[in-house]
Point group: C2
Chain length 347, copies 2
């Protein structure tokens, strides 16, 4: 895969960028969440990993802060001051977490960041309401931000939410259909809406806050979208072949739930004998050894190679969008490190 190296200097750089973004954005997030009425504050603090279910303080495991880090790195890359965009970065992170709260309810997912999902602890209604409240907080942060780019950022983030909703709708609809009734193009479009859109929006917001021109804003949006697609493809590969060392996600997790992930759909569309075997295995309850058989069939049908090559292709598209927006390689360095980190962190 393009630019794939052992986690070395760049990985360390990305980890540092992420830690610094988390340190910048957390106080803003905490302040926003602390302003909520008790009922929703409890759910939000639990969801962010800052409280246990009983309200006792927790160490915090609020995710990797990739989206706020992209906002801040994009501001720097386009010549702005990172400090100006901390509210925008927090708004993006609140928006991301609002959609996670809602998606977990709709998907019936019971685990998130190694803990029971908020709806399993507080009920579906309170999880939906806490998500609604985080959505409102995100928009309020931008509405109260005196920076001249804030209204354009708020409008862009709102449009992104509509796209995220469309992506989640497509995801639910695809999961209800049979594996042979789903095309690869539909799955790619869904992944772009559900994952690429907000990564692109994060980068675009950074550029807006730096006062970048329209062309640069759109190119950075494209960079984030393409990198997001690459990230999703790698994540789907991990969902099949696993990476227990780093993410704790066991091999076969997505196969056990018969998820129509990108490598699976590519394999099913291959017209190979392995595709026929995979379709048959996907259509029946798992017997012993079936997860290994499925993983093997996806690989034999070319699903794994396709996903890795397609991820590489998306990353190279991302990099050329980045070069268009930020021609100086040194200025682009932070964004590049983040993109490479999220796409090869676990592979």
């Amino acid at each position: 895969m393009t630019g794939m190296k052992e986690m070395g200097q760049e990985g360390a750089e990305a980890a540092e960028i992420l830690a610094s973004a988390r340190a910048c954005v957390d106080p803003e997030l905490r302040r926003a969440i602390d302003s909520l009425p008790g009922s929703m504050r409890r759910v939000a603090l639990y969801h962010f990993g800052w409280e246990h279910a009983d309200g006792a303080p927790a160490a915090g495991h609020a995710g990797k802060a990739i989206r706020p880090a992209l906002v801040l790195a994009a501001v720097r890359a386009t010549g702005g001051e990172q400090a100006m965009a901390v509210r925008a970065a927090a708004a993006v992170e609140l928006t991301h977490n609002f959609t996670l709260l809602h998606d977990d309810v709709m998907d019936g997912d019971t685990t998130r960041r190694h803990r029971p999902t908020a709806w399993t602890v507080f009920g579906e209604a309170d999880a939906v309401l806490a998500g609604d409240a985080l959505h409102a907080l995100a928009q309020r942060l931008l509405a109260e931000d005196p920076h001249p780019a804030a209204p354009a950022a708020a409008a862009r983030l709102a449009s992104c939410v509509v796209e995220l909703c469309a992506g989640q709708h497509a995801d639910c609809a695809l999961e209800r259909r049979g594996p042979d009734e789903v095309t690869l193009d539909e799955c790619l479009a869904m992944a772009e809406a559900k994952t690429g859109a907000l990564l692109g929006c994060a980068c675009a917001l950074g550029a807006l806050y730096a006062g970048a021109g329209r062309g640069e804003v759109e190119a950075l949006d494209g960079f984030g979208r393409e990198a997001g697609l690459a990230f999703q493809l790698i994540d789907d590969v991990i969902g099949i072949w696993g990476d227990p060392g780093r993410t704790g996600k066991p091999a076969g997790a997505d196969l056990a739930t018969r998820k129509k992930s990108l490598p699976v759909v590519a394999a099913l569309a291959s017209g190979t004998p392995a595709a026929t075997e995979l379709a048959e295995l996907y259509g029946r309850p798992s017997a012993d050894g079936d997860l290994e058989r499925m993983a093997h069939a996806v690989e034999a049908a070319g699903g794994r190679d396709w996903a890795l090559l397609h991820a590489a292709d998306r990353m190279s598209r991302a990099i050329s969008q980045l070069a268009r927006a930020v021609p100086d390689p040194q200025a682009a360095d932070g964004l590049l490190a983040l993109a490479e980190f999220v796409t090869r962190r676990t592979y």
Copy 2:
């Protein structure tokens, strides 16, 4: 009740204001909803009554447009041009409908505006997603509005959403408790958050768009909140004794579902023998004639008189807030007509 007269000139005036608000705001609403991706557009068009479930055009029955009418009347009352605030009025209406879509899912309500609720037609996930998208559209309308009051309006609307969520949470929590474990103060606070807050916000937004001072903005918020409480009290009276001629809501509807509406909670708190009887009736499945018995017990325990008197008190508080914000009675006329219309329309 204060100002209670037969629907006459003022009622006709209010009906005209509402029809004119609907005519102003509908094109803006339609434009916003038409911008949605197909999946959510269908749900939204159905919810607003503009399409049938199969996508065929419908005559439209999108509610009475009270909130947008309040925005526009508040702009006029505080010396602004109504045309400037059409987007803000549409944003308030979108916000209201986002919360209706979500509340119907949480409450399991199956009928809204005489039709099956959206979630019963499209499923819970799509109803939640359509609500999220309307919420985003509301904020986008304000973010894209060049009017200098738009950011303050967006922040205020976002804070109002948080309050609406807190109100809905309190409502769900109250409904899970026994009728004798609920205090009247809790119910009033819940009604203020769930109903008063957005009516107050609508009036405040109108004042913001007219460039009114802080004192007037807050007084108009107070006017809307108090009128909203009066409206809720009257609505709760109708939920028990009915008003089939106008709303189609049958007598006893709220009793059949054992709703802890304000007159019921007031009756239960009265310490009268009728309260004991009501508590007993509320705690068992309905037998023949029980709805009439319950309605009678609420009345005998003073719940009906309390609700009507308290509504009158709230209306007089609303009117004094209005006089503070808009001393010229002629300028205040539209807002007053709307408040009187919503509180006595059906009584």
